[in-house]
């Protein structure tokens, strides 16, 4: 539990912050005495040079991909990839979109991500409520089991899960493979199971920091456990739920491995896993590959721009996740 509290205070507006010593008001304003003002100025100058160089290095791979994606193949063939000759347009993007079947791939990603995130938040918040608000013998044992499960490398459970799903027979009306392989259910189920541990851990820390009087009062009014959870605790957890929701959307959208293992039909893959096939599909048309890669990056970058606070809050709230 020491994990969450030093880092999340500012970001998530967590109740944990109220209990922290040393955050006295007015502290942040005056920085420690600085008689050597010009020395500090010079150090900042060096810092800026270093940061600008690093930032440039950081932007190069992404910039190169965008640059390549914006140029028609014919022009790069004519002038070379390392040149500025020829036209710049979005033709590669439209071509990659239709040729790669991106509308289908994005829809697949939505079909996997949306149910997974809701199930994760739902189950994890119930579990977190039970282990943090009620004193029960196995609380810590369960919490350890949940947290440890999230830290395992996915490859450790790959074979048994694959075989379990293969031998789980379903009528052909429900699944054209006759089992759970090649279905979204398999990916959603495993994503949910794998992420519940992390979210439970973070939410239980958050809930522990809420005052116990909140539910005491409800209890006096005769509210049952479910009402305490749904009407009192959950609304108070909104900042944490928003942070975890944003984080999980990115995690699951970015998940490469589980769809790779469970889904065989290329047209059912979510975007992130499908980009593995782009290189074969677009042969050595690097302009198209670059455009496809950039299309794939867009949702993550949009979420980053719109919900950056929640995402960073989510990372720092728990951050037990790799």
């Amino acid at each position: 539990m020491s994990i969450a509290h030093p880092t999340d205070a500012a970001a998530a507006g967590s109740p944990v912050a109220t209990g922290q010593p040393g955050f006295g008001p007015g502290r942040t304003g005056h920085r420690p005495g600085r008689p050597a003002n010009n020395k500090q100025g010079r150090r900042h100058y060096g810092t800026h040079v270093f940061l600008i160089v690093m930032a440039a290095i950081w932007l190069v791979p992404l910039g190169w991909a965008i640059f390549t994606a914006l140029r028609p193949k014919a022009d790069t063939d004519k002038y070379g990839y390392f040149s500025t000759g020829g036209a710049f347009n979005f033709d590669n993007f439209t071509q990659a979109w239709t040729q790669g079947g991106f509308s289908q791939l994005f829809w697949n990603s939505v079909l996997i991500t949306v149910p997974s995130v809701f199930l994760i938040l739902f189950f994890a918040s119930m579990m977190a409520f039970a282990v943090s608000r009620v004193n029960w013998k196995f609380n810590i044992t369960l919490l350890i089991m949940f947290t440890a499960g999230n830290l395992l490398p996915p490859q450790v459970l790959a074979a048994p899960l694959f075989e379990m799903f293969k031998h789980f027979e379903l009528p052909y009306a429900l699944s054209d493979s006759g089992n759970l392989l090649n279905t979204y259910i398999s990916v959603i189920a495993v994503d949910t199971a794998f992420q519940i541990g992390f979210v439970t851990f973070v939410l239980s820390n958050y809930m522990k920091a809420l005052s116990p009087e909140l539910t005491e009062a409800a209890l006096v009014d005769g509210a049952g456990v479910w009402r305490q959870y749904w009407d009192i605790i959950l609304p108070l957890c909104r900042p944490a739920l928003a942070a975890m929701g944003t984080l999980e959307v990115i995690f699951i959208y970015n998940d490469f491995f589980w769809p790779l293992l469970f889904i065989q039909s290329g047209d059912r893959l979510p975007v992130t896993t499908a980009i593995n096939n782009l290189q074969g599909q677009f042969l050595s048309n690097y302009n198209l590959i670059a455009a496809g890669a950039m299309i794939t990056a867009v949702p993550a970058l949009v979420i980053y721009l719109l919900l950056q606070r929640h995402f960073v809050a989510g990372l720092t709230l728990g951050s037990s996740k790799g």
């Binding site: 205070a9 942040t28 420690p32 932007l59 189950f123 004193n135 459970l157 048994p160 541990g197 790799g322």
Partner: protein, 316 residues
């Protein structure tokens, strides 16, 4: 084992309360609570822990993955095969160790350095943060593709910058088995350093500013203040960073799989597991033995983390 749910100072008043609450639970409440705990626990057991145990079981068996009745006990055969007769195994172990060393000695310190520099309220700090953090939003598979475009022998930027493009000296950075692990590590660092940076930025904001003042009044230099006072004060963040760094290097998979499925210089234990599960032979036993080796190594950082995260609760 007696457990108080609120062991810290934050929940002072709560210590006595939960016990009272338990007695007041109606039967209906108990059923509801049972469901709230039972369903997630069942999901977790069936889809995470039982498969993990099955991996252990299958690692001592011979099986082609077809009929369940074909599973034959094999003793430690799979492990012997992996250690003695499976050429990619030891290179994979070396690569995993290299991966860990590189993240721990290059990527993580770089992230810490960026965090320390950006914590000084310098101009444009938000822009810098956004730039360094952007790759963290991208999947490692996508990062593999983006860097592929950069590293490509004939069309990549790197060889143009080095002036070797189009000449016989041009290096295929992801294809040449002598250099591709290093190329992949730079791509992985691109993401890892930003991740470490954002966690340390939050950690640095959480350090009591009076600590810094006190150290400077005592005449400590900026470097001394950081290493002797600030860094140790961030212990909880340090624990997380250590665990993330170790776990990430064990989990490394997506990026090498996108490049060449984890072959030809990019062997990693995680990739070997998958190569043995899918594809031609379907040697589940060998794949499972590799998975168990990965599991046993991962238990080291996991136990370390859990003892830090939950140790205090137990003593309380």
């Amino acid at each position: 084992m007696s457990v108080s749910t609120n062991p810290s100072a934050r929940g002072r008043k709560a210590v006595a309360a939960p016990a009272r609450r338990v007695r007041r639970l109606s039967r209906r409440d108990k059923v509801v609570l049972g469901m709230m705990v039972g369903i997630p626990t069942l999901i977790q057991l069936v889809l995470v822990w039982i498969p993990t145990l099955m991996s252990v079981g299958l690692s001592f068996a011979r099986w082609n993955g077809l009929e369940l009745t074909d599973i034959k006990p094999a003793g430690a055969e799979n492990y012997q095969f992996v250690a003695h007769d499976y050429p990619p195994f030891w290179p994979a172990v070396q690569h995993n160790v290299l991966w860990l060393a590189f993240l721990a000695l290059v990527a993580t310190p770089l992230g810490l350095l960026l965090a320390v520099l950006l914590d000084q309220n310098i101009r444009g700090t938000r822009i810098y943060q956004s730039i360094f953090f952007a790759p963290v939003m991208l999947s490692l598979a996508l990062i593999g593709i983006i860097w592929q475009l950069f590293y490509n022998r004939d069309s990549g930027l790197l060889n143009f910058l080095l002036g070797t493009a189009g000449t016989p000296q041009a290096v295929d950075w992801f294809g040449d088995s002598g250099v591709n692990i290093w190329a992949a590590l730079f791509a992985a660092t691109w993401r890892h350093a930003g991740y470490v940076m954002i966690l340390y930025l939050a950690g640095l904001k959480g350090v009591d500013p009076t600590l810094r003042e006190a150290a400077q009044i005592d005449g400590a230099s900026a470097t001394q203040t950081f290493f002797r006072v600030i860094f140790p004060a961030m212990r909880p963040v340090n624990v997380i960073i250590i665990v993330i760094t170790v776990i990430e290097s064990l989990r490394a998979f997506d990026i090498v799989y996108v490049i060449n499925r984890g072959t030809n210089g990019l062997e990693l234990i995680s990739a070997l597991v998958i190569q043995n599960l899918v594809g031609e032979g379907q040697v589940i036993g060998i794949g499972s033995a590799l998975a168990v080796i990965l599991l046993v190594i991962s238990l080291i950082p996991i136990t370390f983390y859990l003892s830090r995260a939950f140790g205090k609760d137990k003593e309380a």
